[in-house]
């Protein structure tokens, strides 16, 4: 029926709009730059059974996290024999219950219409600090406790009223409580808008119609996913890539995947990947799922709806415990920002055997997380990730100096940075010649050199400093990154990929991120 095809499109848009509008409200009312500028948040709509219907994700690393979180929420509610009433909001960040890393806080609320449960709205935002050993809650630790406050599922609001004791407990454990409170309230406000907009859709079309079309939307997405996945020749494709080290002595950490394709479905099996590590590179399961769903989404047409209908076409097997499904209380801060990139590299490496005409060589594969803190001229904390060279494609070069895969956050302008912090950027340039050679060239990495105008503490969390991103079809690997500290006397020291240092005024930190892999014989 025509009306159905049109209504399908309209419902698809309306539910996407609910998620999108929640995102707009959150972005508009959030306090921290992370939320406002870097758009490090996502919002989603689920049906009454907790299946993802629509998601507005600005950042790929949240893709798998919201569905996982929802599943844990339903389990939790069931185990307590509790239902969410109107105005109840649950808050948590526990990485072992669908969280990603501690700074990502999730909030969820039920949507009821005339007493009847019609669905859920959920959002998640990266908060600038949730306590722990290091400002920004991204410590190079060995246990989750060093990384910040772990929040299990708690009522942030009951029947529309914020539970102040809970909020107070959180605020007492973070470095910038006023900002946190603002961001929490913004998340709450975004949920309220989500509930209202979802209800408007229900009151216009009736709960049965809405339920029917949510079901239709899952099938619709499933059909598109099935068709797209059917293009992958049946078979099993395996690939292993490696993390350099965990910063605590363990080296060449394997991430292994076997992708089996057939009948418009995928089975993704990570058996053979490394066990848990002592350093902070462990992933909660949800982060690994995010990387899988990111790759899935890259295989779908650009405007395809992304919901439970596509997710259920992928079966994911992750050994537990392992670096890809860590157990309590492992450190997980870097799983999100580093390991997730390597999971993508491994997945694409496997798929390249099936789809050699579509899959690019490996990109720079690290976010090169730099945090600088100091006390003078006044206390400051600067955090930034640095892009690199992207992998060459089967039909064209890789992009130079651009963020790829699990992240897409903007740089801090040099002039903004120098106004704000006692730092001077000496060089910000494409690292020519670092892309892997090939018929198509891997993208070049980035060079960013900082001079410290005051003494400071520096922490660097990076990867691909020993093993370059792989090339494909005879293309050469990209050059690994290299970082140096130029000491006051002129001595130039090569830095390890994961390091905490104290620097003096006048010293210079030189970062160079990896180039992308090449494609085809040079």
């Amino acid at each position: 029926m025509a009306v159905d095809a049109a209504l399908l499109e309209i419902f698809n848009n309306k539910l996407a709009e609910v998620a999108e509008e929640m995102g707009v409200v959150l972005g508009r009312s959030g306090h921290s730059a992370n939320i406002k500028e870097r758009k490090d948040y996502s919002c989603a709509v689920f049906d009454a059974r907790g299946r993802l219907v629509a998601q507005a994700a600005h950042i790929p690393v949240h893709l798998g996290a919201l569905p996982s979180s929802m599943r844990f929420l339903l389990e939790w509610l069931e185990s307590r024999g509790e239902v969410l009433r109107e105005g109840d909001v649950i808050l948590w960040n526990d990485p072992f219950r669908g969280g990603t890393h501690l700074p990502d806080l999730t909030m969820a609320a039920a949507v009821r219409c005339e007493g009847r449960l019609v669905g859920y709205v959920v959002n998640r935002a990266h908060h600038a600090d949730v306590g722990g050993r290091a400002p920004g809650s991204m410590a190079l630790g060995s246990e989750v406790f060093q990384e910040g406050l772990v929040i299990p599922m708690v009522h942030y609001a009951r029947e529309g009223r914020v539970v102040e004791e809970v909020e107070d407990l959180i605020l007492a454990n973070v470095r910038t409580p006023a900002e946190r409170r603002g961001d929490l309230r913004a998340q709450h406000g975004s949920l309220t808008v989500g509930v209202r907009r979802f209800r408007e859709v229900v009151s216009r079309h009736g709960p049965e119609e809405v339920a029917r079309f949510m079901e239709e939307l899952l099938r619709y997405a499933g059909r598109i996913a099935e068709e797209s996945l059917s293009c992958i020749p049946p078979g099993t494709y395996s690939f292993t890539d490696y993390l350099d080290d965990d910063g605590r002595g363990e080296q060449d950490i394997p991430i292994r995947v076997a992708v089996t394709s057939g009948e418009g479905r995928l089975r993704v099996d990570f058996s053979g990947s490394a066990g848990e590590v002592r350093g902070p590179l462990n992933c909660p399961r949800s982060v690994t799922l995010s990387a899988v769903y990111y790759v899935l989404r890259c295989l779908l047409p650009e405007d395809a709806p992304f919901n439970h209908g596509c997710l259920e076409r992928v079966e994911v097997v992750i050994p537990r415990p392992s670096i890809l499904d860590a157990s309590w209380p492992r450190a997980v801060a870097g799983g999100n920002v580093e390991t997730s990139q390597r999971v993508v590299d491994a997945l694409l490496g496997a798929l390249s055997q099936a789809l050699p005409e579509r899959i690019p060589a490996a990109s720079y594969g690290t976010m090169t997380n730099l945090a600088v803190g100091g006390e003078s001229p006044r206390p400051f904390a600067y955090y930034e990730t640095i892009a690199g060279g992207c992998g060459a494609r089967p039909d064209r070069d890789g992009m130079d100096a651009t963020h790829n895969h699990m992240t897409n956050t903007m740089n801090t302008p040099v002039e903004a940075l120098e106004y704000e912090f006692p730092l001077r950027v000496m060089r910000y340039a494409v690292a020519r010649g670092t892309g892997g050679r090939g018929r198509f060239r891997g993208g070049d990495g980035l060079e960013r050199h900082f001079q410290f105008l005051e003494a400071a503490k520096v922490s660097l969390l990076a990867e691909r400093r020993r093993r370059g991103p792989y090339g494909l079809a005879g293309g050469e690997p990209g050059m690994p990154g290299e970082d140096h500290l130029v000491r006051k006397g002129g001595e130039r020291i090569r830095l390890p990929s994961k390091v905490e240092l104290e620097v003096e005024e006048g010293e210079v930190l030189e970062l160079r991120t990896p180039g992308g892999g090449g494609f085809g014989s040079p």
Binding site: M399, N408, P413
Partner: protein
């Protein structure tokens, strides 16, 4: 007292060139096909054929700059940066434009790598010289540029807005060697090096085409005063347009928003949504007391940070194609049949479009289409919709209704995001619907948004040209200060405003009624974005802070009572008000009576159901002001048709606008 002059607004678009003249308060319109190869031809010919040769003032909206950028046929430009930073354009903000596309490409810089240069120099964030720029260094630079075919040079050195001397030295030395130089410290003295560099490069890149075009116009229009519309919703003289040609990039869509703002305030509805729906796209912009400006604009993916009218554009137009996707959903747009082959009913193409849906539903009548000057083939529409229906398992009419509800919902989403994102409730706004396809969708779109009032201006298809006619002369200046808000910061701001006022072109100084509107971009310390607040020159700093708190609360839902406030930029908007009055339409009708017939047509109700009814067809040109009519009906005029659904009542106001209101709205 000024003698009444005849002014012409000339909007040259991709398909049509619209000329609008106001003579003694009466509106005349002449439309002719554009001549994209040399756009001035249609303009000159239109003035002649339309009997507008006597005009003393031509206000012009042009697509020359934007086309040069889109087609990448601009001036061969070199870029000069501080040592260590010549890759600024290639790096950009280190992001990719699409998240889930393995074949994604970053936008290619307008300057090839071999034309990016560095000079040894450095200025600190306090404006102190760390590494002085030596003249020999620049001479070396000029030698390196020789033989490379450089036609223009864009210069962007770090912190040049604090210490412009280094850029000026580059400018002086290179100009002496015959090069055309664009300095970032002159055209956009604001912080954020990539956006400033991009702006000055785009400026240099479009400069050749714009300046040649202006010369041709000036020659052909000798004796007439020429004004060029800029992206900020005002006009400028050709001399200024030559210096900052990048300001003409959004010249086209700006006209309609200016007209909306003027009309909305005259009609007593200061809060309006401008909805410009044409053949391929719909532009949405908010008017809240005045036009909304954004300093975060980009054109064709390149940041251009002059204040620009805040417009959100989506791929929904009369020519948008309808198709069933692989999963079985009905999609409309963003692909469009454009002007060629156009909708199936034009008789050339066969694919179903939004316009064909209207034809099938009886809402677009052959006999009134473009005043009967262009033939319509309703049979083709029916065929196209029947094909679509076959894919969907339904009738042509049901398919058409589906197409219409999908496109309306797409537009509603655009309007909602535009309003909600800026902290507004769309239902409190009046929808001003124009462009060839706007009036056909206005009321049904309003229903979806809870909007109760729709205004359809006369000649909706030429409304943008009308805006050109009405636009004020506007000049924007800015400067980054980056200071904590304090009495001293206010002194510095006043100093800057003073200099900006003195920097106006000589022709402005002879006029007395120039209004200077100072504003400040403020933020709480630590924030990465700023908010513009309009202030007055003699205000105490505490008053500005108070106003900022309020603006912040309104836009972002909170403020920080004890947050430290920083002045990021100071701005001055200088306005020379236009004395043009909103012109009244003259009567050149389709027939001698206001009711020209009746027809069976269909409406899509907000829940998606189809409603069919025999309705009146009215001729707009014969509706007198004050006249009232009830929906459902069609109001036809030469360049558009307004659809008035059941439950709506229309009235013609004293300016000839159709004011359509939901009944029962009191």
């Amino acid at each position: 007292m000024e003698v009444t002059e005849t002014a012409v607004g000339a909007d040259i678009g991709g398909t049509f060139t619209d000329l609008v003249a106001a003579e003694g308060g009466e509106l005349r319109v002449y439309k002719l096909p554009s001549t994209p190869e040399s756009p001035e031809e249609a303009l000159f010919r239109g003035l002649q054929e339309g009997g507008m040769e006597e005009a003393s003032r031509i206000a012009h909206g042009s697509t020359v700059a934007v086309n040069a950028l889109l087609e990448r046929k601009g001036t061969r430009t070199a870029f000069v940066a501080t040592e260590g930073f010549s890759d600024l354009l290639a790096i950009g903000r280190q992001t990719r434009p699409r998240l889930y596309d393995l074949a994604v490409e970053k936008i290619a810089p307008l300057v090839p790598p071999e034309l990016c240069f560095e000079v040894a120099e450095r200025v600190s964030s306090r404006g102190e010289v760390i590494v002085p720029l030596r003249e020999e260094e620049v001479e070396g630079l000029s030698r390196r540029m020789e033989g490379l075919g450089v036609e223009a040079v864009a210069v962007c050195l770090l912190f040049s807005f604090l210490h412009p001397r280094h850029e000026e030295l580059v400018g002086r030395v290179l100009s002496e060697r015959g090069m055309v130089v664009h300095l970032s410290s002159r055209i956009l003295p604001e912080y954020r090096e990539y956006e400033r560099a991009s702006t000055v490069v785009v400026n240099a890149y479009v400069s050749g085409k714009v300046s040649r075009y202006l010369s041709v116009l000036e020659e052909g229009l000798s004796g007439k005063r020429l004004e060029i519309m800029h992206s900020g919703g005002g006009t400028m003289e050709p001399a200024e347009a030559r210096l900052i040609p990048a300001r003409t990039l959004m010249s086209g869509p700006a006209g309609g928003v200016v007209a909306t703002a003027k009309l909305a305030s005259l009609a007593g509805h200061p809060r309006a949504v401008a909805l410009d729906m044409g053949g391929t796209s719909t532009d949405v912009s908010l008017v809240d007391g005045g036009i909304s400006l954004s300093a975060e604009g980009s054109v064709a993916g390149y940041p251009v940070r002059f204040p620009m009218i805040d417009i959100h554009s989506i791929g929904a137009g009369g020519g948008s194609l309808a198709k069933v996707d692989r999963g079985g959903a009905l999609k409309v747009g963003p692909e469009s049949a454009g002007a060629h082959p156009g909708p199936a009913c034009y008789g050339i193409g066969r694919l179903p479009t939004v316009t064909d849906a209207h034809v099938v539903l009886g809402r677009l009548r052959e006999e009134y289409f473009l005043g009967g000057r262009m033939r319509l083939f309703p049979g083709r529409s029916l065929e196209a919709m029947r094909d679509l229906g076959r894919n969907l398992g339904c009738s042509a009419r049901e398919a058409a209704a589906g197409v219409l509800s999908v496109v309306l919902n797409n537009m509603a989403r655009a309007v909602r995001l535009m309003t909600v994102d800026r902290g507004h409730d769309p239902s409190l706004f009046t929808l001003v619907a124009y462009g060839g396809a706007g009036p056909m969708h206005g009321c049904e779109l309003a229903e979806l948004l809870g909007i109760r009032r729709v205004l359809v201006p006369p000649w909706p298809g030429a409304f943008s040209a009308c805006g050109l006619l009405l636009a004020d002369r506007v000049r924007d200046s800015s400067l980054t200060l980056m200071l904590p808000m304090s009495p001293e910061a206010m002194d510095r701001a006043r100093e800057a405003w003073g200099r900006m006022g003195e920097g106006l072109p000589p022709s402005w100084k002879e006029v007395e009624d120039v209004a200077h509107l100072p504003a400040m971009d403020l933020r709480y310390r630590g924030q990465g974005y700023e908010l513009r607040v309009e202030v007055e020159r003699d205000w105490d700093f505490r008053r500005v802070i108070e106003l900022f708190h309020r603006a912040h609360r309104r836009r972002y839902g909170f403020h920080l009572e004890d947050g430290e406030v920083e002045v990021v930029n100071v701005r001055l908007r200088s306005v020379l008000p236009s004395n043009a009055d909103f012109p009244r339409p003259t009567r050149t009708g389709l027939s001698g009576k206001k009711g020209v017939g009746s027809a069976k047509m269909a409406f899509v109700l907000p829940d998606g159901r189809l409603w069919e009814e025999e309705c009146a067809v009215l001729s707009r040109t014969w509706l007198r002001s004050g006249e009232v009519f009830d929906g459902p009906c069609l109001v036809c005029e030469e360049d558009a048709t307004a659809v008035v659904p059941p439950g709506w009542r229309g009235r013609v106001d004293e300016r000839g606008c159709l004011l359509l209101e939901r009944r029962g709205s009191g």
